[in-house]
Structures are given as C-alpha cells and as structure tokens.
C-alpha cells in the first residue's frame, strides 16, 4: 500500500505503507520532517498533514479528540487537515496523498 507524501519544500515521494501503522510513522521513518512530539498519542498536533486529492472524504472521520487537538495546529485547512498519527494504513488508504503542513 502506497502513501504519496509531499514535504514542506514541495518534493513528492511515494513510500510504502504498512497495514496497521499510522501514516505519521511511515512518513517519519521515510525521512519526512515531521516532529510528532508526543509520539502518536494525539496530544501535540505536530504531525499535521493536508490530505488532498479527494482522499480526505475517503478516510474514517476524525475523532472528537483529533478535532480538538487540531485546534492547536497551525494553518489548519478545514476539509483537508488531519493529524497523521490518527490515519491508519490499510488497503483502503492505498495511494493516499498527503502534504506535510507548515510548522
């Protein structure tokens, strides 16, 4: 399953996701500059990404905890902003497009 990630400089690369892992973990392990300060606990909003190209609506809706935590993220775009630690890789996310948000 693929993740098509774009970094803050606009460079796009296709990386391999793993079933059950979060998009944050995959991006971080592939060298994307993603702080994820809390380590994936939905507690810091430093793994903020924009989910693009129609993928936002294909994902399970964010939890209330994630919606709350997004209040601490910068440059939130409604209908696109997600915390990547809360997006779990699966067959349904194969080909998902995400862009790392500004920090």
């Amino acid at each position: 399953m693929k993740i098509i990630g774009t970094d803050r400089e606009g460079n796009t690369k296709e990386v391999e996701g793993r079933d059950g892992w979060s998009v944050m973990e995959i991006l971080r392990d592939n060298g994307f500059d993603i702080a994820a300060e809390c380590g994936g606990a939905c507690a810091c909003a430093t793994c903020h990404v924009y989910v693009t190209d129609g993928w936002y609506d294909k994902l399970p809706a964010p939890s209330d905890a994630e919606i709350d935590m997004l209040d601490m993220a910068l440059a939130v775009e409604p209908g696109s902003s997600r915390l990547s630690c809360q997006i779990i890789c699966s067959d349904e996310t194969d080909g998902i497009k995400v862009t790392v948000a500004p920090e």
């Binding site: 606990a41 507690a43 919606i67 709350d68 910068l74 939130v76 409604p78 920090e103």
Partner: protein, 355 residues
C-alpha cells in the same frame, strides 16, 4: 506561561554539585540517583512546573511501560517522582531557559539562564528531552519582524502585563483555553477585540466558551471563522492583517496587536550553542557514563543518542543511575564511591528519611 517568573534566587551565582537542564521525569530521577551519592542539584526548566513532556503534552494519558507501575498517568508519574526526590531538597528554577555555558578556570562550569540566574557546578546534566518548549509561531510571512516590538504592540505569544493592551485593537487566534481565557480577560480593556479560529468550535473549557459567546452576543468581541494570511505595517509596528474566511474570501482588518495561541512546540534552543558535539540535534554519549564528548557534561533521556538507544522513560532512568556514578568522581575527586542498596543500607535510608 502567562506570568513573569518570580525573582529566581538570592545569592547569584549559585554554587552546587550538579546543574540539571530539564525537569522532566529523567531530570527528576537524576536528582534521586545523585542524591544517594550526596550530590546536590539545581534544575532549570522553561516550563513553570516539573514534568516536561509528561505534564505538558499528556498529563491525563496513561503510561503502561513504567516498571512496577502497570498504569500511571503522566501527571501521576511526575507527582510520584517529586515525592521520591523530596528528601534531597532539589532547587528548581522554573520559567527559565538555560542560555549559555562556559568553562571556568577552576574546571567547573557556569550556566546562565535568560532570567539572569547563574549556576556554578562541576557537573552539568542535560536532560532536556527534545529541547525547550516554545510557542508555536503561525506560518505568516514576516511575522518575526513584528515580534519583540514592545509592550502592547506587535505579535506576542503570552500576556505578561494586561494593562499594556488597554485601548488597543487586539486580534487573537486559536481555539484552546489560552486563546479563550485571553479573549475574556482582555475584552474589557481592548478598543476592539477579534477572535479568529479555523472552526466554529473550541477545545477550551465549556464555561470559557460560554463566556466568549456572551461577549460576542453583547458586541464586545467579534468572532470569525478565519485565519490570518498576512500582517501589515512596518517592522515593529503592526497596523492590520489580512484575514481569509472559510470560503477563501479575504478582507483587511485593523489590529495593533496579534496574539496567536496555538500551544507549545519543542525546539532544541540554545543547547545547540553550548559547544557540545551534536548529531542530528541529539548529543552522542558513551553508554558507560552517559557523558557527552565534553568531559563533565552528561546527557540523559531523549536528548542523547548511542547505538541501540530507545526513547523510553525507563531507559532514561537507567542512564541517570550510571551518569550519577560517573558524576560523583568528577564532583568528589578525592572521595571513594561506596555502592550501596537502599534496601540494606541504613546510611541511604537515613538520607531518604525512612530510618
């Protein structure tokens, strides 16, 4: 993070055995291990309370991998560590950032903070996690040119003196408790007060949201689902901003002061300037002493790196124990280190106040 810290100490510079940068769980446990060896500690932390990431990021979240504690919250772990180190009377310097480190002629170190505190010690322990918590800066072009403009004007990430904002056109951004608390507190003295947030909903306490809605209904506060796209004025003198609404429409808005409240993020900060060897913002250490490549400066917890490193609290505890042994020989070069167990040593039990 809203009030200026109290005067840090009397008697500057302070002389002690060990200065610890960072009062997170590992810095706190280091006090215990050093204390058993009769080494006294001063701790510096930019936050206004102990605990570091544990209390700042996840005070209510359970941790399941602390040996012997099947479940413990970040806050509870910190509370227990504070209780555990109490016998050693550690001295805390909260709300202070360690800004410089220099070696003295006698071989000791002098550590200075941004609040003017100076600590002289033969041993420095860096237990700073990923660095220091700093306010998140919105990605608006040129925002840094409006920071530090002076009281009550430009961009501020904290309110220190409310009075300086009297009669101003105030713009606040954010949807958490800080944003709403300052909307409520500054509304009575502002000329105008506007809140912008990306949604018509808030992470803040319900009573704060209710108060904000009442102020809005009374015409004392304006609220827009919008974001700040640009800042206008000259460096140091903000005059207005461009706001963009949910429908991408943009408009101009008068503002003398912009207060963004998006919480804190972690930046390495001045440690990078201490002259210690760093690798990808981490401090390489040996695994016998957890000392950096600069003798006398140790690094424990998330800030260090070595082959096999795991960023776990329990690993940091181990690192603190070994560091303390090595630190003892630097702080007490002429004394013999006696290794003892707390279960059997009446000497250690006396120090702990249990015998």
């Amino acid at each position: 993070m809203t009030d200026a810290p109290a005067a840090a100490n009397s008697g500057n510079p302070i002389e002690t055995d060990v200065a610890i940068i960072g009062a997170g769980p590992i810095g706190l446990f280091a006090v215990f291990e050093l204390g058993l060896l009769d080494l006294k500690c001063h701790l510096i932390d930019i936050l206004d309370r102990p605990g570091g990431q544990c209390t700042e990021l996840y005070p209510e979240k359970p941790i399941y991998d602390i040996p012997g504690l099947p479940i413990v919250t970040g806050q509870e772990l910190v509370d227990r560590l504070m209780e555990q180190i109490k016998p050693f009377d550690p001295q805390f310097h909260f709300g202070e950032m360690a800004t410089s480190l220099e070696k003295l002629d006698d071989g000791r170190w002098k550590l200075k903070t941004d609040q003017g505190t100076e600590i002289i010690a033969p041993v420095i322990v860096i237990a700073a996690g990923a660095g220091s918590f700093q306010p998140k800066r919105p990605p608006v072009p040129g925002i840094e040119t409006f920071e530090n403009a002076g009281d009550g004007i430009g961009v501020h990430y904290a309110v220190r003196k409310m009075e300086t904002f009297r009669g101003k056109n105030i713009l606040i951004a954010g949807g958490g408790d800080s944003a709403l608390d300052w909307v409520i507190n500054l509304a009575p003295l502002a000329k105008t007060l506007t809140l912008v947030h990306h949604r018509d909903g808030f992470r803040a306490a319900q009573h704060s949201v209710n108060q904000m809605r009442e102020l809005e209904a009374a015409g004392k506060v304006k609220f827009h689902v919008a974001s700040v796209k640009a800042l206008h004025g000259e460096p140091g003198k903000l005059t207005g901003v461009t706001l963009a609404g949910a429908d991408k429409s943009e408009w101009q808005h008068d503002a003398d002061v912009f207060l963004p409240f998006f919480g804190l993020t972690i930046k390495l900060g001045p440690i990078a300037e201490f002259g210690i060897n760093l690798h990808e913002n981490l401090i390489p250490v040996d695994t016998a002493r957890f000392e950096s490549q600069t003798p006398g400066i140790f690094a424990i917890g998330d800030i260090n790196t070595y082959t096999g490193k795991l960023k776990l609290i329990l690993s940091g505890f181990h690192e603190a124990a070994l560091m303390a042994q090595a630190a003892f020989h630097i702080a007490r070069p002429n004394e013999k280190l006696r290794f003892q167990y707390t279960t059997s040593s009446s000497n250690l039990q006396k120090k702990l106040g249990v015998n």
